[in-house]
Amino acid sequence: MTPRVAKYVAFGRVAAAHALENRAELGGRMAFVAIILGVFSSLWRAVAEHGIPIAADRAALVWYLAATEWIVLTAPTAHVDIEREIRSGDITCHLTRPFSYPLALVAQGIGMILVRGPFVGLAAFVCGVVLTGGAPSPTLLARFVPFAFMAMLLVYGLHVVIGLLAFWLTDVTPVFWIAQKLLFVLGGLMLPLTLYPDWMQRLAHLTPFPAMLGGPAGLLVPATAPDTVRLARDLAVWIVVVAIVARTLFERAVRTLQVSGG
């Protein structure tokens, strides 16, 4: 391994260790998955009991939600850290060191996902089994996991882009809220996109959000499973797009420092 690669591997390793040591956050994310799945499982049972067809296959909906929540709750909330670093001026410390800040962010994101993923995933899986009395086949799970990992990276990339906007906006919370609501609605957080009206499905597919949630989660619901080749292509394209946007924003931000000062 070259020294250049080794430094980014080290960033990933330290971020992973940090995520593991931050037990309160890890425990909170696991608990939140359990609460959400418990609440919505009860809701769909009640809906089904009233004969509303949307909740006819409650088990499928629970596993779909377990998958989307796993992705959302594993993806690190990078915007919070980046915003804090920009507001406090810590970002300038990073610029005096021999590494690329955007590449370090990528490495840290992968490290955190590799630690949080198994824990949050285990919580989601156990809850899914308890609430539905069964589990998706190992084949479905094996196909789903790599796509989920790519989706987590894409959600993380979105958070990085939002965080970098703090160079201009200082407070990115409103942007995050809007992006998060769009992700939940157009990504299909709670219901598969196939249940949406046609016009809304078309609109959603113009955005990266379905590739972040509904696409990978749909792999666990055979009736709505997307074309895996198309999903892989969508995820790869959107990851590249988000990476280019993040890099461009960072370069522009550094130029902004030249004009406005730190």
């Binding site: 430094k7 330290v14 940090h18 931050n22 005096t96 021999p98 420092l257 004009v259």
Partner: protein, 317 residues
């Protein structure tokens, strides 16, 4: 050791746009040279241009005009290469990972600076001993005291043996003994490793105990550049005398003497020894009754610097 300056700045100017139409000249034609191994304090009121100069010297900002080299590199052009040779300590900013022990951050920094593992182990052992960090090397940063954390921050900045160290308020928020320890360690590290040290601080204790030269900036320009002793000689024309006398009140109407405060049996006086020698003032006091005790102090550096800032502000207005 090379005789070429470690840091050379000539006519450095940097302007920022604050609002859409307002331009602020943060650094205005700055010129100075710092020799290898020199320990220089960079001081000035807020907005004097200290941080901007440090950012230009560390390659973060490009100047509008002028030239600068650090260890022969042009910082804004050779930022990545220069980064291997410099270290930074920002007192209010942390480079340590909060939930991990300092050892993990140190290992990360060794990778970042591409330090060979055996060299890193040796250097870490020596710094841990010098900074007395052995007991907290494996304790999560969140459980360390502020003084321990600051010592760890400085070790983190010294691990790659930087030839130039930029320090911004390195003792801010520390208690008196922790400040003294940090100052001694910084001075020692600079002397042992021949590192050039550029420090900004509002605490004159940092300046007096760590540095040998002081550069005072005001509105981006150099107001004073010289030794701390020279600063005292140039600006500390008065001594502060406190007299404890038998007489309830002393009448000391002498040229160059000014009563600062008077309480029964205690008189504080500012005296210009160039106008009236200390002996003459003591004689005058003794003529009015027994003198129980006497202290003579330099004017605190804080007051001198405040006076210089005030003078500059009056000059501008």
């Amino acid at each position: 050791m090379s005789t070429a300056p470690a840091i050379r700045i000539h006519g450095l100017t940097k302007t920022f746009r604050v609002a859409r139409t307002t331009l602020v000249r943060a650094v205005d034609g700055l010129t100075l040279a710092i020799a290898p191994g020199e320990r220089v304090a960079f001081i000035g009121p807020n907005g004097a241009g200290k941080s901007t100069t440090l950012k230009v010297l560390s390659g973060i900002l490009h100047p509008d005009e002028g030239e600068a080299t650090v260890l022969g590199y042009v910082p804004w052009r050779d930022r990545r290469t220069l980064a291997f040779e410099i270290g930074t300590v920002f007192g209010q900013r942390s480079q340590l990972w909060y939930h991990l022990p300092p050892r993990d951050t140190f290992a990360l920094l060794a990778r970042v600076y591409e330090v060979d593992s055996s060299v890193h182990r040796r250097r870490l052992a020596s710094l841990v001993e010098a900074f007395d960090l052995g007991a907290c090397l494996d304790t999560p940063v969140r459980q360390l005291s502020l003084g321990q954390r600051m010592r760890a921050e400085i070790v983190a900045s010294l691990l790659h043996a930087p030839r130039v160290l930029f320090l911004d308020e390195p003792t801010i928020g520390l208690d008196v003994s922790a400040k003294a320890a940090i100052r001694g360690l910084l001075r020692g590290q600079s002397q042992d490793g021949h590192a050039t040290l550029l420090l900004t601080s509002h605490d004159t204790g940092d300046i007096e105990h760590v540095c040998e030269r002081v550069v005072i900036l005001h509105q981006g320009k150099v107001l004073w550049d010289g030794s701390i002793d020279g600063l005292r000689r140039r600006y500390m024309k008065t001594r502060r005398l406190t007299l404890w006398s038998e007489a309830e009140q002393l009448t000391l109407d002498l040229p160059g003497a000014r009563v600062l405060a008077a309480r029964p049996h205690v008189t504080e006086i500012a005296l210009d020894p160039g106008t009236t020698p200390v002996g003459a003032l003591v004689d005058a006091a003794c003529r009015q009754g027994l003198l129980h005790d006497l202290t003579i102090e330099d004017t605190p550096l804080d007051e001198v610097i405040r006076e210089i800032y005030g003078e500059a502000a009056r000059h501008v207005s």
